[in-house]
């Protein structure tokens, strides 16, 4: 099984250091939770892993199955199995959900292979069904006019169809009602059982209790200041992030 590792990763934007010397591994089937106060650098870290051009590491390595990918374009990282589910996925006016997924799947096609439209649609409808989405979703413009919950569902849909090896979820639970949260939890559990490595940024106790993560990582001021088991999340909830302002290993 694969592994995604960060080794002494540092990021800056202008003079501003966003992430400093962060290291951890995510194994296939592993589920790790990243917590931290607002502005701690959680979203920046996720974007850097996905290859956002504004978040390029100036030191350290990102390794995907032992291959350094710092210089890989976002599309190459995606095709090699990294998926970022955005906190606020952006609108793509006029681009339908089906078109987006078709194009993304086509982009993954090995050279010389012909895209099989029929089996794509079979899979597409099956994935829609498993997320309780109806077929009218196929023709909706991506994220345009979607409610918060619909946006998150659409991100999950993409995960099901693109089958990444590692998923980075930026507050997938924010703005979700109880039912939707249950659906997210179940979907993530299923993916994890199938061997997907998951890095989850969340504040939701419900989701954590349901998923029972392998570890909780605390990011504060751009540095990993704490790591431990699920009990760490409980501690954060009880006592806040202040106590993690300085490095401390649990």
């Amino acid at each position: 099984m694969g592994v995604l590792s960060l080794q002494n990763l540092s990021l800056r934007q202008g003079e501003n250091i966003l992430i400093e010397n962060v290291s951890f591994d995510i194994d296939g089937g592993g589920l790790h939770v990243l917590m931290g106060p607002n502005g701690a650098g959680k979203s920046s870290l996720l974007k850097a892993i996905a290859g956002h051009p504004d978040y390029r590491p100036f030191a350290g390595q990102i390794l995907l199955n032992n291959v350094p990918i710092n210089n890989f374009l976002p599309e190459e990282r995606s095709r090699r199995g990294i998926f970022l589910a955005f906190q606020n996925p952006i609108d793509l006016p006029g681009v339908s959900v089906a078109q987006l997924l078709k194009s993304a799947r086509q982009a993954r096609l090995p050279p010389g292979e012909v895209f099989d439209v029929i089996s794509f649609y079979n899979e597409f409808y099956e994935a829609l069904g498993s997320l309780s989405m109806d077929r009218s979703w196929a023709n909706r413009s991506v994220n345009e006019g979607f409610s918060g919950g619909e946006r998150k569902r659409c991100e999950l849909l993409q995960i099901l169809l693109l089958k990444p090896a590692f998923i980075l979820l930026d507050e997938i639970d924010s703005g979700l009602d109880v039912d939707a949260l249950g659906l997210v939890g179940k979907t993530l559990r299923r993916l994890r059982e199938a061997g997907t490595g998951i890095l989850l940024v969340t504040h939701s106790r419900k989701l954590l209790d349901f998923l029972a993560p392998d570890s909780v990582l605390i990011l504060h001021g751009g540095r990993l200041t704490g790591s431990g088991g699920p009990e760490l999340a409980i501690e954060v909830e009880r006592r806040g992030f202040q106590m993690f302002a300085k490095e401390r290993n649990g």
């Binding site: 290859g51 051009p53 710092n70 952006i90 006029g94 078109q99 413009s141 693109l162």
Partner: protein, 466 residues
């Protein structure tokens, strides 16, 4: 539809039986008219048009001055014969090869009710399905229309677009050749489209077709035209005039996919008149040419007439698409909808000029216009000049406009799904045009998407490996 596939840039050497030489004079005009065996009234029309052409100037707002083109260096008439063949096998070899390569005979078999193919100055091939001929439908070249159906042709010809309308309408009036003549008898509904292919083959040449479409009461027709030319270094001129008449209750759709090569000046006057309860739709797509100036017009002359102009234009590096629409409401309860979407790439410039006029006699009318521009690149240009004059009572007139860019976040989103930059831009651009592309006949829609994606080649690679 293959007008505009990458393979449209090819050229077979051709020897013409008829070449009136360079430059336009009274002598050339007389020569063209004599070759076609035209009646005296038409020769007078041509000569009068020539006189107007010599006097007229371009309007101040135009992106082209009269003297920008070297009229003395253009060839005004190049043809093998004056009248088209009905049988594909009889078409001259190099002409046939050209249209074969553009897929014309194949398309005809697949989904068209009739086909015409103009090669330089004349229609080389024209054919209409038997059952439509039996129903009285006429689909011939304009020269044949005049020769065989003068009684229908003459009362309409030149009444919507007069030669004094603009410089290039005058030039067309003097030198016109080719184009379609269509007559649909009352109540006949032609289910499959009629298609005309316009091919410019020669260098330093002017194509001046003239199309006249008359759709009888409660009749229906869809006309498609596609335009291509090989790429030359020299200037080529395309100055067409199109007049469409939709009689009471008639429905007409006129669909253009223009993909001229970059050396073509495309200066076209298109106008349609709708009588009571008639409906006209101009669906216009301009992808090619150096400069296009084209503003399809709707003359809503009968009560409850409806008109629509849907236009797509793409201006890539070095191109200027100066397009738009006009709606002239003359009768009560008429309605118009003008929707324009343009994409400017690199230093390409897209201009929209909209003119909506509601006469005092046009009460309780509705007009809605929207124009959206998408810019790709820092130097891309978009301009909008809407003009609205409302004198009718109880009218509702709306105009909306927007300019947008594809944001870095949208690009990153798509790239993080595995699309490369070009693919991401292509998807966004097709998304931008998607609601209009849906209005094109399906075979065209597919091709159009591909053509637009090909335009993405013009974009410099922005984001690269860190």
């Amino acid at each position: 539809m293959d007008n505009g596939s990458p393979d449209s840039d090819f050229f077979y050497r051709t020897d013409y039986a008829h070449d009136v030489g360079r430059g336009l004079s009274e002598q050339t005009v007389r020569h063209i008219s004599r070759l076609k065996g035209e009646p005296g009234w038409l020769l007078s029309f041509r000569l009068k048009s020539l006189e107007i052409f010599q006097k007229l100037a371009m309007p101040d707002w135009a992106p082209l001055k009269k003297e920008d083109l070297d009229y003395g260096n253009i060839r005004y008439y190049l043809a093998h014969e004056q009248f088209p063949k009905r049988n594909w096998e009889e078409v001259p070899e190099e002409v046939k090869r050209t249209f074969d390569r553009l897929g014309v005979p194949e398309k005809e078999r697949k989904f068209l009710a009739g086909v015409e193919a103009q090669f330089d100055s004349e229609m080389a091939y024209a054919n209409l399905k038997e059952d439509l001929i039996r129903q009285g439908v006429i689909f011939v070249s304009s020269s044949e229309g005049l020769r065989d159906h003068e009684e229908i042709f003459r009362p309409y010809f030149g009444t919507l677009v007069s030669s004094s309308d603009n410089l290039f309408a005058a030039l067309n009036g003097a030198a016109f050749s080719g184009g379609s003549f269509i007559y649909i008898p009352p109540d006949v509904k032609v289910a499959q489209p009629l298609q005309a292919y316009f091919r410019i083959n020669a260098e330093q040449f002017g194509q001046f077709e003239r199309t006249l479409i008359i759709v009888g009461e409660n009749a229906e027709v869809i006309y498609l035209e596609g335009c291509t030319a090989p790429r030359f270094e020299t200037t080529t001129l395309h100055a067409a005039v199109v007049e469409v008449f939709a009689l009471a209750g008639a429905k007409v759709q006129y669909v253009t996919v223009q993909n001229w090569s970059d050396n073509v000046y495309n200066l076209v006057t298109k106008r349609a008149k709708a009588f009571e309860d008639a409906e006209i739709r101009w669906i216009d797509c301009n992808i090619g040419s150096r400069l296009t100036m084209k503003y399809p017009a709707l003359l809503l002359a009968g009560e409850r007439a409806r008109g629509e102009v849907l236009s797509i234009s793409v201006a890539h590096n070095g191109q200027r698409q100066d397009t738009g629409a006009r709606a002239i409401h003359l009768a009560p309860r008429t309605s118009s909808q003008l929707i324009a979407k343009s994409l400017s790439i690199g230093n390409g410039a897209a201009t929209y000029r909209g003119k909506i006029f509601l006469a005092p006699s046009a009460d309780h009318c509705r007009s809605h216009s929207r124009c959206d521009a998408l810019l790709l690149g820092e130097e891309a240009i978009s301009q909008t000049f809407p003009e609205i004059h409302c004198q009718g009572e109880g009218c509702t007139v709306e105009h909306e406009a927007s300019v947008s860019k594809i944001s870095d976040e949208q690009l990153f989103y798509l790239r993080s799904r595995g699309l490369d930059e070009r693919g991401a831009l292509g998807l966004m651009v097709n998304g931008f045009f998607s609601d209009l592309i849906r209005e094109f006949p399906m075979e065209y829609g597919v091709e159009l998407k591909r053509l637009i994606e090909m335009e993405m080649d013009d974009i410099g690679s922005g984001e690269s490996v860190p």
